[in-house]
């Protein structure tokens, strides 16, 4: 344990409005802590730079799953376990269930939140690829109101998001429009459970005849942030699935993937495996 806990402040204002008011009063001073599965590790390793924290873990206003006809709205404070237990999400958004199930252990899923996973903004995070493929929208909230933007515009760079200093992530909305879509997600980690991603790919596709009528691909650990693989999508859209298409898709992915060497894996491995996952996805569409 490499921090003196006595040097940190933590308050838990009773309501979301109270939290937002406190943040608005001193923008940039506070860091929100939900389940703590990232920030408490930083504390333990002596690397929690932020000294003033506000707990949002208890806020019911942020922990909900609301199913409407056209979309499912998930509060930022919803835990991975909440997601795994939800029948509507299981039905409509299986990739989100899958990615929630391999985020850490059961104990960490009981505390970790979807909002925390997104806002921590690691390029290796588990849920962004699925949310990008699904074309999610994020709603940000502050004392002065709400605003929404496409999730694909949320990650601005390495661990940098569109959140203003006075804002919290309120919810993530995912459209319910994937009836008939084929869905694929695969994470390649250092082991089968409790592993940080070396590379992950989420893909959904609508096949009409043998033609790719729509295709969305989200990826982890191929850039400094989670990405939509736009070049691969553009290359594949409207094509018949055959060997030439697969080769073209692989080449397009290779052109936009910029993975790095780090302590967990190498850039070449990540790039090669990402292409293999794309091929695996495309071949699954052939049957």
């Amino acid at each position: 344990m490499r921090s003196d806990a006595a040097l940190f402040e933590l308050e838990a204002p009773a309501t979301l409005d109270a939290v937002l008011a406190q943040i608005a009063a001193e923008p940039g001073k506070y860091t929100a802590i939900a389940g703590g599965t990232e920030l408490m590790v930083a504390l333990g390793t002596g690397r929690l730079v932020q000294r003033s924290l506000l707990s949002i873990q208890h806020l019911d206003e942020l922990r909900f799953i609301r199913v409407e006809d056209d979309a499912i709205h998930i509060g930022a404070g919803t835990t991975f376990t909440d997601i795994r237990r939800d029948a509507a999400i299981a039905e409509d958004l299986p990739l989100l269930i899958q990615s929630a199930s391999w985020t850490g252990s059961v104990a960490n899923q009981n505390r970790g939140t979807l909002g925390g996973n997104i806002c921590n903004a690691s390029p290796a995070a588990d849920t962004p690829p699925a949310l990008l493929a699904y074309g999610a929208t994020v709603t940000l909230i502050s004392a002065i109101g709400k605003r929404s933007l496409p999730y694909s515009d949320f990650h601005l760079g390495y661990k940098r998001t569109a959140l203003r200093p006075d804002e919290l992530l309120h919810s993530i909305s995912v459209p319910r429009e994937f009836d008939g879509y084929r869905q694929y997600i695969r994470k390649v980690g250092t082991r089968n459970a409790q592993a940080i991603s070396k590379v992950a790919l989420a893909g959904i596709a609508l096949i009409e005849g043998e033609v790719i009528a729509d295709i969305r691909i989200g990826a982890a650990s191929l850039a400094d942030r989670p990405i939509r693989c736009g070049a691969a999508e553009a290359t594949l859209l409207g094509r018949r699935i055959n060997e030439a298409t697969i080769r073209a898709g692989r080449a397009a992915l290779a052109s936009e993937a910029k993975p790095i060497d780090d302590i967990r894996s190498t850039a070449m491995y990540r790039a090669a495996v990402a292409e293999n996952l794309l091929e695996e996805f495309l071949r699954s569409l052939m049957s």
Binding site: Y158, R191, A193, D261, D262, T266, A267, M268, Y269, L277
Partner: protein
């Protein structure tokens, strides 16, 4: 009449098991002493150099702290094992990252953090060496700037802690024989095999609490250290030198220990000495516990190794002769490297007949934290070499892996390459047949070959055949001269007194089983004392797979002796009941006050071993094994997974089926980690992945079903014939797994750990130069939980 149902061979409840499942077992960090302070260690930030200055930042009120430096050590500034090259605290020179320089203590644990950060040390760096090859090169080039270790009286030379030269016959005979063998060989097969460092990763980190008493003049009169450890008397020895005290003034108590695997064999001498020094200077008991990051970065690991084989083989696959060059990386100080080297040297031959064999072995010094004991202790390293090499021999000659083993196995009445006659029955032919049958090996070879043609998942099977010597090498047990005692408690129950420690492997349980069976008492009535050196004798360290066999046998004999005493002096009848035993024991106590029976080790048969020639009876007994691994290699992700594991071993006597199975399963799991997951990532001698997120140990979701089977060929050396099994399971899995991967993919890999990146690199290197393997990991980019370097 008492009921003499055997207790050995059954599975009574673990002696301290109830406390463990209740969460009531007291590990060192669960213990507080009155007035206790906390200690921390300030460590070198560089790999090699001199300390230019140490200053203490004024942001901290140092009057509230106690600081200990090398100058405070009353005795010798040394952590003794075999040589005195290892300082307790660095004085002017540092030789590895994380080397302890000074110690600080304070009543509040949290105050230590800021204090440690406020110690500013300036260094003049010197060039370091970080691999076996770099260390060798410095010697070859006579590069004085990179001679990092000077030599010793114990047979060390520049940069080399120890060398062994082992011949199967006399030197002259063997060299002549080898020359002829290579001359006349149909094939000469060469190979080089590498194994990496491995972290023991016991779930309980190192920790101790020390107390120190002084007389009116301020001289230390005695010290007492309690903590997580395998060998209380090793720490006693270390303390006698650090404090210049006799051993009866250095009391050491082992507390419940949460895993060890060798990682708490030699290392507690360091942390125990440190805590005692702080206790001495601050006048309070001092607790030092490491957090995971410190434990991983600063304590001992398994020795990395390199084995080079050159073998003369006949056209029908028989070994005609061979040379083996075996090298291990010992880190910055000798610690136990000579002994690891010794065991690795002796096991390098595998379970085979060598008409002529020469093994040249050396332990090199590098500027890494000293490597130390880890289950297997040199044997996993050299057995990896021979078992991979036999596969290569099979390929070159055109035989199956099975056939090449069969044509070379040692058998009853044969002599090993150290000249040990195998008089106890050994039947590797049968073990191999049984193991392959139970694993469905032949069927899988055929089936996978067919299925692999149409699948991106390549499946394969492979096996390893091996042995592990139980007990200390050669004359080691005689030199240890273990003493075992048994006494009787006031209520008439016997109590075993040994320094053998429990750390999960079942010491308490099996020794009480032996006692109970021999004494004719229920298992529940036999007690064993907590290892406290003020109470228990030195029965040697809990290492080397010696506890069941050597100490078990001693417990059996001393129990017999106790019975004789009671029969002769207290009228205990033959075929006594448990009640009669208690009555007689209490009667004896009433008359004589105490009842203690003592016995020293004596080998059951003559053991001839020549340390100089490295020849003779290397171990009192061997356990023999055949392990079979089934793997699946996913060619999309290049990940190799073990999908099934079969472990068959002949162990003399299975003393406790549940415990024995648990030992094998746990050892196999650890060895799967050694082979496929656990890579230590070094940067200039510092372990960079010193966290559980980045040092990858298999979880329950990564391990296959492990099928364990035993055979029993009793050995005269152990109770009811038992031989040691603690380390054996570590030896076989890695080569078996890589043999299986070769079967699955057709590609031979000769380095472990074998990561997916390495498999990927090799496969893509068939078309272009290899890249993207695990040697290209960038260890400065940590990823989660630590500051990342921008891409």
């Amino acid at each position: 009449m008492s009921d003499r149902t055997p207790i050995l061979g059954t599975s009574p409840l673990r002696k301290e098991g109830r406390a463990k499942v209740l969460g009531a077992a007291q590990y060192i960090d669960d213990i507080e002493l009155p007035d206790m302070w906390f200690g921390a260690t300030v460590r070198s930030a560089i790999a090699r150099g001199t300390i230019r200055s140490i200053s203490f930042g004024s942001e901290v009120d140092w009057s509230k702290f106690t600081v200990v430096t090398a100058g405070d050590i009353p005795g010798e500034n040394t952590i003794v094992h075999l040589t005195k090259d290892h300082p307790c605290l660095a004085h002017q020179r540092v030789n590895h990252p994380e080397e302890p320089i000074l110690l600080i203590a304070h009543p509040e644990k949290s105050a230590l953090l800021a204090a440690a950060r406020a110690v500013h040390i300036e260094y003049d760096e010197l060039p370091g060496v970080f691999t076996i090859e770099e260390s060798e090169t410095a010697v070859e080039n006579d590069d004085a700037t990179r001679i990092i270790w000077e030599g010793s009286e114990q047979g060390g030379t520049a940069n080399c802690f120890k060398k062994y030269l082992m011949y199967s016959g006399t030197a002259a005979e063997t060299e002549d024989g080898l020359a002829a063998a290579f001359e006349g060989a149909d094939f000469i097969v060469e190979g080089e095999y590498h194994t990496g460092a491995q972290e023991q990763l016991y779930i309980e980190n190192n920790g101790v609490i020390a107390e120190c008493n002084k007389d009116a003049l301020g001289n230390v009169t005695d010290v007492c250290v309690r903590g997580s450890m395998q060998c209380p008397y090793y720490l006693v020895h270390a303390l006698t030198l650090v404090f210049n005290l006799p051993s009866d003034k250095c009391r050491v108590i082992q507390t419940e220990t949460g895993g060890a695997f060798g990682g708490k064999e030699d290392f507690p001498s360091v942390i125990g000495s440190h805590a005692a020094l702080l206790a001495m200077k601050c006048g309070h008991p001092v607790k030092i516990t490491y957090d995971r990051a410190e434990d991983m970065a600063a304590t001992t690991k398994r020795h990395p190794s390199r084995t080079r084989h050159r073998t003369a083989v006949s056209r029908d696959g028989k070994l005609l002769g061979g040379t083996i060059d075996f090298a291990i990386d010992g880190g910055a100080y000798a610690t136990l490297s000579p002994v690891v080297l010794s065991r690795g040297t002796i096991h390098a031959q595998g379970p085979y007949k060598w008409p002529h064999l020469r093994v040249r072995a050396k332990a090199m010094a590098t500027n890494l934290p000293p490597h130390g004991a880890f289950r297997g202790f040199g044997a996993p390293q050299s057995l990896f070499g021979i078992e991979r090499h036999m596969e290569k021999i099979a390929k070159v000659v055109g035989l199956s892996p099975e056939e090449v083993r069969r044509r070379n196995f040692l058998s009853t009445g044969d002599t090993t390459a150290t000249g040990q006659l195998l008089s106890d029955p050994v039947d590797m032919q049968h073990l191999l047949t049984r193991a392959l049958y139970e694993a469905g090996y032949h069927d899988k070879i055929a089936r996978f070959a067919e299925e692999n043609r149409h699948s991106t998942i390549k499946r394969g099977v492979g096996f390893a055949t091996f042995m592990h010597g139980a007990g200390f090498t050669g004359s080691g047990e005689r030199r240890l001269n273990s003493l075992v005692q048994i006494d009787v408690l006031p209520d008439g129950r016997p109590r075993i007194l040994v320094s053998s420690t429990e750390f999960g492997q079942g010491t308490n349980t099996i020794l009480c089983q032996v006692g109970a069976q021999t004494l004719g008492l229920p298992y529940e009535d036999v007690m064993i004392a907590q290892p406290d050196t003020s109470l228990v004798p030195d029965s040697g360290p809990t290492v080397a797979s010696r506890t069941a066999m050597i100490i078990g046998k001693l417990v059996e004999r001393v129990s017999v002796q106790l019975l004789e005493t009671l029969r002769c002096r207290a009228g205990l009848p033959a075929n006594h009941t448990a009640e009669e035993f208690k009555v007689c024991a209490k009667q004896y106590l009433a008359e004589h006050g105490t009842l203690t029976s003592s016995l020293r080790y004596e080998p059951a048969t003559k053991i001839y071993w020549d340390d100089e020639l490295f020849h003779g009876d290397a171990y009192p007994a061997y356990a023999w094994a055949v392990y079979v691994a089934e793997v699946a290699v996913d060619m999309n992700t290049y990940m190799a997974t073990v999908t099934r594991f079969d472990a068959l071993q002949e162990v003399g006597k299975v003393m406790h089926p549940v415990l024995a199975k648990g030992q094998v399963e746990g050892g196999v799991a650890q060895a799967i980690g050694y082979a496929l997951y656990e890579k230590c990532m070094w940067k200039e001698g510092r372990m960079m992945n010193n966290q559980m997120t980045n040092y990858i140990m298999p979880t329950s979701a990564d391990l296959p079903p492990i099928h364990v089977r035993f055979e029993e060929t009793p050995s005269i050396h152990g109770p009811s014939g038992a031989k040691g099994i603690g380390e054996l399971p570590m030896d076989g899995p890695a080569p078996a797994i890589l043999n299986a991967i070769e079967n699955a993919t057709g590609v031979a890999f000769n380095t472990i750990p074998l990561l997916p990146e390495d498999i990927f690199e090799r496969f893509t290197s068939f078309t272009e130069p290899g890249h993207g393997g695990s040697e290209e990991f960038d260890v400065t980019r940590q990823g989660e939980f630590l500051p990342e370097v921008l891409a």
